[in-house]
Amino acid sequence: MQGLVKDLATLLGPTQILSQPEEMLAYANDATHYFKSRIPDAVVLPHTTEEVAKVMKYAFEKEIPVTPRGAGSGLAGGCTPVHGGIVMDLKRLNQIVEIDGSNMTARVEGGVVLKKFQDTVEKRKLFYPPDPQSGCVCTIGGNVATRAGGPRGVKYGTTGNYVTGLEVVLPDGSIITPGGKFVKQSVGYDITHLMTGSEGTLGVITGVNLRLLPLPEADRTVIVVCETLEQAAEIVAEIIARGAVPAMLEFLIKLAITIMNQYFFPPLPTDGEGYLFMFFDGTEAQVEYEAKLVSEICHDMKAKEVRLIEDPRAAATYWTARANVYPLIQTIFERANSEDITVPRNKLPDLVRAVQEIAAAEEVMIGLAGHAGDGNMHPSILFPQVTPEALEKSEIAIDKLIRTGLDMGGTISGEHGIGIHKSKYLAWELGDIQIELMKRIKQAFDPKGIMNPGKIWMEDGDKHA
């Protein structure tokens, strides 16, 4: 890497390069710092696609690893620069290029922060639903790269459902623009959606075309307290089966509620085991009807309490608290490893039971929260103390959790991506043939293997499951 920093400074100017360790400590990992960390050799902070292309061309010539990075808030280690080299911080590509109300589309640079974009379109009565819970910082380019989603997945799907086109810098520095502003296209391979979820292993996402929806005029928040976790899971399955479509349907356990209660007035009762947070949006008549229907279902199924939140400010506090559950959990545990299992929705009660059995059998604490409405649960191994013994037990428990989810016809990741965190389980879900196919695609895009190496699948020398 000799001369790397000097070369990069010549390419971009010294104010767009970081090279001292103290400037790059935060770049050594994402929000899964307990898995792997490595301080990169340099960080570049480009402002334009052309600058990204210049760096890629240079890295391609010199065969230097490049790890693209959005906010660094990921939960799979996707932007951890495990092979060192250059971290490409894309947060300065932060312009909302166009919001086209007549076409219901938008064009943004890859580093635009999700919340800023959502606030901007909502002022124009437009709506961009994907809602990874790190929305206050995460970037749309990062969302595309990880095919991110959140609670609204149940009704609105995830990032991939809104991407219609991209601008991508390929590993050799060439720029392509697959897809476009149109909302449908049938022209050859769908490179746009191949890039979506590629986790920075095929190229750098510098621009994104998005589809927008009209902003729903009304909403309602309903909170349900359930006697048991199973009851909560059965209520979810019943709600889906009866055709109600909440925009969000979140599942939480008592432990989470006790921590979240600092946000709520009056606090939620803590005598239940399972809790559901639901959000309905649409026309006034529609939300009125759905909230009523769901309240009836909950009463019929003997929920302990159904709380309809009328005041929008109060409702907002529930959702703010929900968005903060993961960091909040860290205040009382030394560590929390969050999984991302997604199962067909009628399997939710089975999954909930299985999680409890695994926790009991392996003597680990497993916190259970997730986007129950779309079957995406985040069982988290909670460590009161991180010890070698606890780590070993947790690994066995996670293996069992993943296997259970797959056996139910589920997937190992609904919205976080694979990164380094879940690569061990890739073969369990995809099998060797699909992985080999993926590797050949990777080879076609990135013949020198410089794009975010060490991600998605296991590397030689990694510990195999």
Binding site: E22, A26, A31, T32, N94, T331
Partner: protein, 398 residues
């Protein structure tokens, strides 16, 4: 006691979620993770606590660039007291004599209110150390303590008694705020006692890592206020309020005999609009045809209601209309004395703030922080920037 070693465990609570990137002003202007709270914690952990890496001048600079606005601490769901850790670091570095954090001159000057023109001297100090800025606030021709002192009793029944802690901003630069505080409180049947001998609350000294200076100011003020027979202790400045409520006790050891008195004061401290809103106005304000915007000061975390108090209080004035900023809580970059020593970062932070301010049409900008008032005021020519209590005074015709 703000000892860095006491934070070794809690610093591990940082989950690297990066949410501090959403509010950290130095990050928002630099758009580089070097300059965000998370990286500062990592520097402190790796370079000062565990000493895995050498502590360098660049690392020092990154820590110095923190405005101590507390936005990261307020944003942090993992509840890492980031501002306290930065203060503890500055104290430790100051003690070790490593690097270049300057011993705080201005804070020392403010320990003695008797010094006329303290801020004028601060200006000249700023110029001497090569950070010449024309943006040093004009001193009031007569400081507040020269005009007001002692007990001010309302005309009718005395409903409550409060003691008034007068911050340096009001005392030296904006005595008009102080006048309005006394008049509005009196108008609502509240007796106001202004004890003699008050000194700076200590927050500017603490921000520079001058624990000794801060401690001595805390001692002086606490001794003055703790024994008073009052219902509440009022400040018009959110930063002074934060100092009393959250920081004063941390300036002394846990077993210091003064802790009990600090607790007495801490329990009674209120920002003036917060207090009035909590008590309820005795007299309804008169009509005032005015549109106003509210710049919420950063040092608001010590009271859950302080940021809404002006909205609710002034909402009771017939015809006065609130025009909200896009991001009412965005830092202006002034940050105490930060803008003098870190002119470049401060001006970038302010420029970002001004975009929002300039996009919002209103007659007046209100804020409870005197530094925000003058630092924003230097660049906003079309509107007055003032304290919300002054608008209430105006509505009362006082």
């Amino acid at each position: 006691m703000l000892r860095l070693e006491d934070y070794e465990k809690i610093i591990e609570k940082c989950s690297h979620c990066s949410y501090c990137q959403s509010t950290c002003p130095s990050y928002l202007v630099e758009q580089s993770e070097s300059s965000v709270a998370k990286n500062r914690l990592l520097i402190i952990k790796e370079m000062l606590m565990h000493e895995n890496l050498p502590f360098t001048p660049r690392a020092q600079e990154i820590l110095d660039d923190c405005l101590l606005c507390t936005n990261c601490t307020q944003t942090c769901s993992s509840k890492v007291p980031i501002d306290d850790i930065i203060i503890a670091t500055r104290i430790k570095i100051g003690q070790k004599g490593v690097g270049g954090i300057k011993q705080f001159v201005m804070g020392k000057m403010l320990t003695q209110r008797g010094l006329t023109g303290a801020l004028g001297k601060a200006g000249s100090v700023a110029q001497k150390i090569g950070i010449a800025t024309k943006e040093i606030p004009q001193l009031a021709s007569k400081s507040f303590d020269k005009m007001y002192s002692g007990t001010y009793t309302p005309a009718g029944t005395v409903k409550k008694r409060v003691a008034y802690f007068v911050g340096c901003g009001t005392n030296f630069i904006f005595p008009d705020t102080g006048e309005a505080v006394v008049k509005v409180l009196n108008h609502n049947g509240i007796e106001v006692i202004i004890p003699k001998g008050q000194v700076c609350c200590g927050i500017p000294a603490l921000a520079e890592g001058d624990l000794e200076g801060a401690r001595s100011m805390v001692e002086t003020n606490i001794k003055l206020f703790a024994g008073l027979d009052v219902d509440a202790i009022i400040t018009d400045c959110t930063s002074c309020g934060m100092m009393f409520k959250e920081k004063a006790a941390k300036c002394l050891s846990n077993d210091d005999p003064l802790q009990e008195k600090i607790a007495t004061v801490t329990a009674k401290i209120w920002e003036v609009t917060d207090y009035l809103q909590n008590q309820g106005l005795e007299v309804p304000p008169g009509r005032l045809d005015i549109t106003w915007s509210y710049h919420v000061p950063c040092h608001r975390g010590w009271s859950p209601t302080v940021k809404d108090a002006p909205r609710q209080l002034l909402g009771q004035i017939p015809d006065a209309e609130l025009r909200e900023f896009d991001i009412p809580e965005q830092c202006c970059g002034g940050a105490g004395t930060y803008f003098m020593e870190h002119r470049e970062v401060a001006e970038k932070v302010r420029a970002l703030r001004l975009q929002d301010i300039n996009n919002t049409v209103s007659d007046v900008i209100l804020t409870q922080c005197p530094v925000c008032r003058f630092y924003i005021g230097f660049q906003v020519m079309d509107r007055e920037v003032t304290h919300p209590i002054k608008i209430l005074a105006q509505a009362y015709g006082l």
